[in-house]
């Protein structure tokens, strides 16, 4: 076993240790808590890099370490971790982005009274997320997955004294848990069918040919193959965590958390976990492609949901006025692109986009955080403005992130990864609709990012907060610069001319693709990016907003559409009116049943008993008893003597009961000995 595999468990264990230490640190131990957290992340990063180097020696191998957790019936439940280029790359990304965001948080959270607890929760999150990526067992993945959800709940609700934050935390937890329910059932089903949840296990893992072959022979009553059904259940979990339509509603609300949280959890890592999960179980989820008789392929559903989400997120992002919410809907849209890539069969393109997106979206969120920190927590873009002059580093790095996200050609990583996604979509045999959705999304993305840039950084400062904003210290700007470098450089890992990433991830040499093949698509997407940038500039850049109250040009042009998109297509209201009401109704009904129906039945029985008792006593009194009255008179005399014992003194009663009981017990013991 190579040393990097043996020590891989330390990658999540170090932040977990930091979290435990942080939990035990009193509120005053700010430096200790933050120091331990950052040191642990640095250690995790170092180990991840070593692991990546080891994994790249033989990219096609899946090195595993499995162990038994507990026996179940005649089988066992096993856990394990896995070292391959996918897990190692994800480890490097999570720990690197995490480390930068931890450092940023030193500056951003410095005024918070719960600074110590913040680093404890962030470390817990990092540990859980790293656990997700190294898991070689779907159960260990699910365990880490749930802990990720818990950390997310704690961090969204970090400022729980704000009612909106408390509500958002609950909404996020419950909504993602709806998806997790599907994932859990998928795992239970998979375990029941295969007897294992290990991914790779020397031929017996659920991603390996032998087991998949057995699984493929089973069919459900509806004609659906078992692998398809299990894959769809697993996809439910991925859709919940990755904010896919229709479970995306929690993600924008999650922006109530502190901005470093939004950057780390709700942009770069946790929300990408769903994409990672599908990429990880790709052999399982794509297995039904080979089953010709299957009426529905799981990947088709993934592609459709991804395409809808990509489009929906981008459209809604054009009409938001909160800096972080624009970025949140942008994240939803980009996650849609990744799912789309998975659905059309290119998990490599999805992971490529996941990695580049992690960098440029973390960059955008941290730059937004820098703005919010400088502008005293003003995050309404209508009340910002003019920050390009006062916050030059932030402005420059934000612009890099904006161009990467928009897909400005050649220099920026987002262009290459988005191109890979679109290229994969164009080669999909089933339908070209995802490609068209992706292309429309390209225009919208360039448009809303231009709008955001112009509103925040151009023109006059439109509020006192924006006017007073000054550039932040190095602890905030240095992570921005490093992320900006990554947002540029990372793209060159996966250009068509040098597809290093693809050959590293798949373990096969991949021939470079000539620019001519697919060059038409690339040209088209460049034109569309230009169109989006141009439209944005025409509406928001040519004539910048002068006051916070001025009407949005888009809103002026199409007020009803703008209102509809601004209200997030009214999906939240729809859910509240349907599912929310259904739940309340169910709960009220159950409560009513318990109070009145079951309670009433018990009450009725009691009444019945009382009634029978009174009839009986009546009969006794007037009929049977009459003759005995004289006799009872004498007995009553004796009763009076005994009544002295009935003193009403409960202590006395209890003592008598206890003594009698002990005598009885002694009799039993001694009697038994005979």
């Amino acid at each position: 076993m190579p040393p990097s595999l043996e020590t891989l468990w330390l990658v999540p264990a170090l932040p977990l240790l930091a979290a435990s230490l942080g939990a035990l640190t009193p509120r005053g131990g700010r430096r200790f808590s933050a120091g331990v957290a950052i040191a642990a992340m640095a250690g995790a990063l170092l180990l991840s890099c070593l692991a990546l180097r080891a994994a790249l020696l033989d990219p096609s191998a899946h090195l595993v370490h499995n162990f038994r957790w507990f026996d179940l019936g005649n089988g066992a439940v096993e856990l394990g971790w896995l070292l391959d280029p996918l897990s190692a790359l994800m480890c490097v990304m999570v720990s690197l982005v995490g480390l930068l965001i931890f450092i940023f948080s030193l500056g951003y959270m410095c005024e918070d009274e719960n600074f110590t607890r913040f680093f404890c929760f962030m470390s817990l999150f990092a540990a859980a997320m790293l656990g997700v990526v190294i898991a070689n067992s779907l159960l260990l993945l699910f365990i880490s997955w749930e802990l990720v959800g818990l950390a997310s709940y704690l961090l969204i609700g970090f400022w729980f004294h704000k009612p909106a934050a408390a509500a958002a935390a609950k909404k996020a937890f419950i909504t993602t848990r709806i998806g997790d329910l599907g994932l859990l059932l998928g795992l239970v089903w998979l375990y029941d069918s295969t007897g294992s949840l290990l991914l790779y296990d020397g031929g017996n893992g659920v991603l390996e040919a032998g087991v998949l072959g057995n699984l493929g022979t089973m069919a459900l009553a509806g004609g659906l193959a078992v692998p398809t059904a299990i894959s769809l259940l697993i996809f439910c979990g991925a859709a919940g965590k990755s904010g896919q339509f229709p479970l995306h509603v929690w993600l924008p609300d999650a922006m109530e958390g502190p901005t470093p949280v939004s950057a780390l959890i709700h942009a770069a890592t946790m929300v990408a976990a769903g994409v990672f999960l599908i990429a990880r179980v790709f052999p399982l989820i794509s297995y039904d492609q080979a089953l010709a008789a299957d009426p529905l392929h799981a990947l088709t559903v993934v592609a459709a949901i991804g395409a809808v989400t990509a489009l929906l997120g981008a459209a809604i992002a054009t009409a938001q006025s909160d800096l972080k919410r624009v970025l949140a809907f942008s994240t939803i849209s980009q996650l849609g692109y990744m799912m789309l890539a998975l659905g059309v069969g290119s998990w490599v393109a999805a992971i490529f986009h996941l990695l580049t997106h992690a960098f440029f979206k973390a960059l955008l969120f941290l730059a937004a955080g820098s703005v919010i920190h400088a502008a005293h927590h003003e995050q309404d873009i209508r009340r910002l403005g003019g920050l390009g002059r006062t916050m030059r580093t932030t402005y420059a790095t934000f612009a890099v992130g904006m161009m990467a996200l928009s897909g400005v050609p050649f220099l920026f990583s987002g262009f290459w990864s988005k191109e890979a996604v679109l290229h994969a979509a164009s080669e999909w045999a089933v339908s070209q609709l995802p490609l068209y959705a992706g292309l429309v999304g390209v225009v919208l993305t360039a448009f809303y990012m231009t709008r955001l840039l112009c509103e925040v950084f151009w023109g006059p400062a439109r509020s006192p907060e924006a006017a007073h904003a000054r550039e932040n210290t190095g602890v905030i700007t240095v992570p921005l610069v490093i992320l900006a470098i990554g947002s540029v450089g990372l793209g060159f890992l996966g250009t068509p001319a040098w597809p290093w990433l693809e050959s590293a991830l798949t373990g096969r040499p991949v021939a470079p693709r000539s620019l001519l093949e697919g060059g038409g698509l690339m040209a088209l997407s460049i034109v569309l990016v230009a169109a989006g940038l141009g439209a944005g500039w025409a509406l928001y850049g040519r004539k910048v907003r002068v006051s916070a109250d001025a009407k949005d040009p888009f809103s002026a042009a199409a007020p009803r559409l703008f209102g509809f998109l601004g209200a997030r297509m009214r999906l939240d209201e729809l859910y509240a009116a349907t599912l929310g009401r259904l739940n309340t109704l169910g709960a009220a009904l159950a409560d009513f049943m318990d109070r009145w129906v079951w309670g009433g039945a018990v009450g009725f029985l009691a009444l019945l008993g009382e009634f029978t008792g009174s009839v009986n006593s009546e009969v006794d009194e007037s009929g049977l008893n009459a003759g005995f009255n004289s006799a009872s008179e004498r007995i009553r005399g004796a009763g009076r003597a005994y009544s002295g014992a009935q003193s009403g003194d409960a202590q006395g009663y209890l003592r008598t009961v206890a003594v009698a009981f002990v005598v009885l017990a002694l009799l039993v013991l001694l009697g038994g000995g005979r």
Binding site: D71, E146, L185, M593, L654, A658, F661
Partner: protein, 499 residues
């Protein structure tokens, strides 16, 4: 192992001493209670350390009791009983720690408490059905007094309802047992004897007898719709009694179902399996929904207990090694977690704030005023939601795996309960402890609440430690439980054994 019967005698001796000493000093009574409960717990742990798991009940004492009827004073243990004995020791020790502030008639309080504990130990150790039944009754009587005398909200009603339900349930059990006993020619009340006797009955009668015994026990386990005693009883009970009631006494019912009812008549069980399973899964979701509507924090927890016990009943009804193992694990897990939740609400919060209404608690911002209580409640809530890292996760997972094996629909509906649990638990956490400041809060200016005492902290650490330990190492208990499920008697009903 031979130490185990002394858990009963230690508790009884403690009860007597506490009664005598309590007349003079409450302090003496509570120390006696702590020594007695802690001592009995230590005995279970000592026995556990030397326990060799095996498929059969290991006899500890076997003496004739009523020779003319073949009744024996037969105490025995296997991995299932050992798990529950350790739980009883833990829950009762923590219960005493959380009753440290009882001053009103402390001697009688602890005497009744320890008598109840003795009865519970006796039930888990009995290998003779009539002895089982006798201990079962010993456990029920003190409960009534504990609630009626030391209880709170609506205590006479709660105590009476609980007692009537319990007695109705045990009457059914007794009737069923006597029926089988008579049918077998009166040879004895050993579990295997009864199963043999029941097998001679015609199928129709077996079905009826099984229903008597199973539903009699299921009443105490809180199986829907026989559960309504549980929330009112839990709420009315004093803290230590609700901890024992939800933590251990409900397990008596489930244990009776597993130990006595299931092997009694596999034929009867086969007839009732589907209805029982559906009652269990409906109960899981139903009780969760009711919990979502409660205005009293203790009622939320009372209904959550019913929901979690639904998982136990589902595990038993699915009747395979996985599900039954999960059911026993869930008994342990719920015993610890419910105890913790009741301790926070009843002792840490109610004894200080004198309210459990979520609407009042919301304005109190307890996270600021009782940070320790808030932290423990959050941990207990997370555990109760079945999150990994805590004992509820492996327990509910194994139950779902087993239920899926028997009938996937049961697992699918039961899993909904996990979602509902998240909803009502988060609601309780947020309203109960993290109320918003905008609610005209008397937070800062209100009189400071008494700080959390050492006894409370100790009790909380014991229970949190137990749920975390089993959450990470469920094999510690499953290694005891699994072999016991392979016993020939249980193998007549459980599927998936080594045949």
């Amino acid at each position: 192992m031979s130490l185990l019967p002394w858990t009963i005698y230690t508790s009884l001796a403690g009860a007597l001493l506490a009664l005598v000493a309590g007349a003079r000093s409450a302090r003496a009574a509570r120390w006696i209670a702590l020594l007695s409960a802690g001592g009995a717990w230590a005995l279970t742990l000592a026995a556990a350390s030397r326990f060799v798991p095996g498929p059969s009940l290991q006899t500890l004492v076997d003496l004739p009791w009523v020779p003319s009827m073949g009744v024996r004073y037969h105490l025995a243990a296997d991995g299932i009983s050992l798990t529950l004995l350790v739980l009883t020791g833990l829950a009762s020790t923590a219960g005493v720690l959380f009753s440290w502030n009882v001053t009103e008639r402390a001697g009688e309080f602890f005497a009744l408490f320890l008598t109840l504990v003795a009865g519970v130990y006796g039930v888990f150790l009995s290998a003779d059905a009539l002895l089982f039944f006798a201990f079962y009754e010993i456990a029920i009587v003190p409960k009534y007094f504990l609630i009626a005398v030391w209880g709170s909200t609506n205590r006479e009603y709660g105590a009476m309802k609980l007692a009537l339900y319990s007695f109705a349930g045990s009457a059914m059990v007794l009737a069923g047992l006597l029926w089988v006993y008579a049918a077998g020619g009166g040879h004895g009340f050993g579990f295997a004897d009864l199963a043999q006797a029941a097998a001679t009955l015609p199928r129709r009668q077996q079905i009826v007898v099984f229903a008597f015994v199973f539903f009699g026990f299921a009443t105490l386990a809180g199986l829907f719709p026989l559960h309504t005693w549980a929330p009112t009883g839990h709420v009315a009970a004093p803290t230590a009694a609700s901890m024992l009631l939800a933590g251990v006494v409900m397990k008596l019912g489930a244990y009776g179902c597993l130990r006595v009812a299931l092997p009694l008549s596999p034929v009867g069980f086969a007839y009732w399996q589907t209805p029982i399973a559906w009652l269990a899964v409906v109960g899981i979701v139903y009780a969760g929904l009711v919990a979502l509507m409660q205005a009293d924090l203790k009622f939320v927890i009372g209904y959550s207990s019913v929901s979690h016990m639904g998982f136990v009943m589902l595990g038993l009804a699915a009747a395979n090694l996985q599900s039954a193992g999960g059911a026993v694990l869930q008994m342990f897990s719920h015993g610890v977690i419910a105890g913790l939740l009741f301790a926070v609400v009843g002792r840490m919060v109610y004894d200080r704030t004198h309210t459990r209404q979520l609407a009042d608690l919301r304005a109190m911002q307890l996270y600021r005023r009782l940070p320790f209580a808030a932290a423990v409640f959050v941990i207990a809530g997370i555990a109760s939601m079945g999150l990994p890292g805590f004992s509820g996760f492996p327990a509910e997972l194994t139950i779902l795996v087993g239920a899926w094996k028997t009938r996937p629909a049961w697992a699918a509906v039961g899993a909904l309960g996990v979602l509902v649990a998240a909803a009502f638990t988060l609601r309780a956490i947020q309203l109960g402890f993290f109320g918003s400041a905008d609610k005209a809060a008397p937070a800062g200016d209100a009189a400071p609440l008494a700080p959390i005492t050492l006894a409370e902290k100790l009790g909380a650490f014991l229970l949190v430690g137990a749920t975390v330990l089993i959450g990470i190492r469920p094999d510690l208990l499953l290694n005891w439980i699994n072999p016991a499920l392979q016993s020939p008697l249980l193998q007549t009903v459980l599927k998936g054994g080594a045949s």
